[in-house]
Each structure stands twice: as C-alpha cells, then as structure tokens.
Symmetry: C2
C-alpha cells in the first residue's frame, strides 16, 4: 500500500502548513471539539494558536467552506456544520469499500471471467477497434450474503489480464488494480432503469421484468484512455444513489443502502 504509507508520513510532518491546518480543523469539527452551530475561533485566534499568519489559516478555512463544513460571512465568525462527508472516489468506485463504509459485509460470486473479442458496443465505448481482445468479468455482488447487484465489467486487455492472476471471489478487484499501479483516475456513471432480463432475474432471484437500477460506468486513466466499461444492475430495494445540491454550487454524491420505509 504505497499511497497509504505516503499519506501517513505526510500527515505527520512534511505537508504544507495550510493542509495540516485544514486536516486539523476538519478533525475538530468531526470530533465535536468545535460543536455544530457554534461559532469557531476567529482567524486571529487560530493564527495565534498555530503561530502562523492569516494566509494559511484562511486557505485552510476555505477548503472547509468549499466542503460546506463551515458557513458564515463577513463580520460574523463562521459556524461549524457537520455535513455528509463527500464520498471519495474509491468509495464510489469499489463495491467492497462502499459496503464496508456503510457497515455491511460485501460478498461476491464470480459467474464468469473470460478473455474474448470486444463486442461492437463495448469496443465503441472503450475506443477500441472492433474484435480487439478484452476481458469480461461477471459477478453477483452480495450485501450481508443477500444478492444486491449484478456487475458486468469489460476491461481493456492490458488491465484485464491482471485478473487472471487474481481470484475475484476473494476481494476487491479495484484494490488489486490499484496495487498493480493501474491509473484509475476518472469515472462517468450513467444511471437509468431497466427491466430484469431472464438471466438477471435468475441470478438476483427476482422475477423477470422487475425494475432494476442500472449504472453504466466508464472508467478512464488520467490521460483519458478508457480502461473499463461496466454495467451494474442494482436491486432498487438494496441500494439508491443520492445527489445533494445547493445554490452555492456545492454538490455531494453518495450511494446508500435503501432504507426501509
């Protein structure tokens, strides 16, 4: 885990001052040290406490304001506001991390992993010539042992071949790809609804034609090269997506376990 080591080291010392301040302020809000609704210490007090000038303090506060954890205006000290933590990239991309994040136990049953030639549709989305070899992975994903989602992924061959050295039943494919330094950087999720096809229905143990929440995902590298094209079909009773939106332009997205009404 190269990245997490680096992060730990950086947290300790090497990070620039304003980043350390931002982290510290965020910790204070989350821990309740700065209670919600209460005004936080003034900038000059924070400057005194940390022995810095106003610059880094304001830069750190700006980050929190951008996340909506701090609201306030000119003349009056900003007040803390606990807010839904914006789900990081990883949580939104990895079923395993998502499930753990909401306190459920993820599971999977691999239906198929195969190297074959790209279908015209997949080739188009991945920007490959038709017939190029790709790796297809079909898994049934479970939440606390109950079927929740059917995942059909198509990887470009360079990425997909990693899967043959890896048992997709044991853990997170996403983690494994990161460990192999695959440059997963950007993802576009398109959400719609489809009727369960007979094969979907059989695996998810529902009746054919039942509505499913479909998320098609195109994951690309930092240079914009498509790496994965996926089609995830969720049982609506198991997961929903939410978008939160304010006039100030702040947006936070999330994927949640469907609540029982």
């Amino acid at each position: 885990m190269k990245t997490s080591e680096a992060t730990r080291d950086a947290t300790r010392e090497a990070l620039p001052l304003h980043q350390r301040l931002a982290a510290e302020f965020q910790r204070r809000i989350e821990s309740g040290e700065w209670p919600e609704g209460e005004p936080v210490p003034s900038e000059s007090q924070l400057c005194a406490e940390f022995g810095s000038s106003r610059g880094p303090v304001r830069q750190a506060l700006a980050v929190l304001r951008g996340e909506g954890s701090l609201v306030g205006g000119r003349g009056k000290p900003p007040v803390a506001r606990r807010t839904a933590p914006s789900q990081p990239f990883a949580t939104f991309l990895s079923f395993t991390q998502w499930a753990r994040g909401i306190g459920r136990e993820p599971g999977q049953r691999t239906i198929e992993v195969a190297r074959r030639r790209a279908t015209p549709e997949a080739a188009a989305r991945l920007g490959l010539p038709e017939g190029e070899p790709v790796v297809e992975l079909v898994r049934l994903r479970l939440l606390d042992g109950v079927p929740a989602m059917l995942e059909r992924s198509t990887f470009v061959h360079e990425v997909g071949r990693i899967l043959f050295d890896f048992d997709p039943d044991t853990g997170s494919v996403y983690d494994e790809l990161l460990r192999r330094d695959v440059d997963l950087h950007h993802a576009r999720h398109t959400i719609d609804a489809v009727a369960a096809e007979p094969r979907d229905a059989e695996l998810l143990r529902i009746t054919a034609g039942a509505p499913l929440l479909r998320v098609r995902r195109l994951t690309t590298s930092s240079r914009g090269v498509p790496l994965e094209d996926a089609d995830d079909r969720y049982l609506p009773s198991m997961a929903t997506f939410t978008i939160e939106n304010t006039v100030e332009g702040r947006t936070v997205i999330g994927r949640y376990r469907t609540e029982e009404d």
Copy 2:
C-alpha cells in the same frame, strides 16, 4: 428578474477583483482564446496585464482549478482544459430550464393541483404534523410534446398556496417560486427504480410494470426547513442521470436526454 440584473451590474464593476478575473479567465477558456491543451499565460504576465498583485490572480485561478478547467502543477504553467460545465442548481431543479438547456421544448399537462391534508409519509419527510394542510401538484412533463416524466410534488402550505395564483400549465413553477422570493436553497435527490403503477402507465402511455427511473427530491430552505417533497418518475428512454468523478475529488452531476444507442 432581480437576480440577473444584479449579476449584470456586478459583472460590470462592483464585483471584487478576483471574481472579475475568474469570470474573465473562464470566458477566455470557453471562447478558445486560451486554447485547450495550451499553457495559459504565467501569473506574473496576468498580474502585469490586469495591474494587480499575485493574490487575486491566484485566487481566480484557484476557482478554475477547482472546476477542473485548469490543470497543472508546480514549475510548469497550467494548461486549459474545456470541461463539462457543472450544471447549476437551477438546471437540476427545474424541468423547464433543463429541457431548454438541452435544446428541447418542455411541456406540461397538469393532472391535479389540490390542497389537502398531508399523508403520514409526506408529513414525515416534510417534518410536519400529520394532517397538516399541504398542496399537491401532479403534472405530466413532456419533451418536444412526448411524455417523459410524471411529477408528483407535495409543497408545504405556505409555499403551495402560491400555486393557486399561478397556472402550472403555462411555465416553470420553480421560476414562479423564485420570483415570489421562496428560499429554495438545498435539494437532496434520491434515485432508484420502480415498476410503473397502472396510473403511471396510463399517463406515460406505457404498459404497467415497465421500469421507471424514480427521483425523490426533498427541497429545503437555507435554514434547512423542508419546502417540497417530490416523486418524479422518468421514462428511462427519455432521461438519464450522470455522475462524473475523479480521484482529485472533483464531481459534476448532470441530467441528460437519453441517447439512442
């Protein structure tokens, strides 16, 4: 249109320097004056051009970097990158504005507008005592004259009574509420899939049981008071939602006309 007048005035003169700079830089990127992929002028050049110090220039550039329009790092000048404009709050809340934004003609047929007592579910979501009077609005929304979505909104009475002075067939309820200074500030959209009920099916001209993309929306004021609880059911063939996501944490959401595959 009070706000747009204010914006226009402010753009001219009164806005702080860094905001004017940010707007100018964004214009240059969108207009192609700063071509995509090309490095933009250095900070010192911009300082010289606008006769300002580095502070405001950097502040303005930080905004663009936050939106992903500018990427780059230490030592090398940042390069411009055209990016999907993050859809503003209004576009995401108003069917009318959304439709116009994607070049379609919005339409609506009001099925019902009624003042009645809140159902237990609606009361719970709106934070009202059960049986409190609310205003319910049911409209069939059209895209270029074709049914696209069925909208069921429940407004708290204070907001909903405005609708009785307004013909919801003529235009945007959202615009009308803003004109009446209703403090629509925050919205939470929860997305899932449901099967069309007989009544849905009849209005949307599909068969019962067909999958629909459902978006439940809770709109609140800036102080967190719920104002509207809505249940929008889209034909998946007409609209999808997308979420774009990067490791840097940038997120942009959108609602789009479903493309024909």
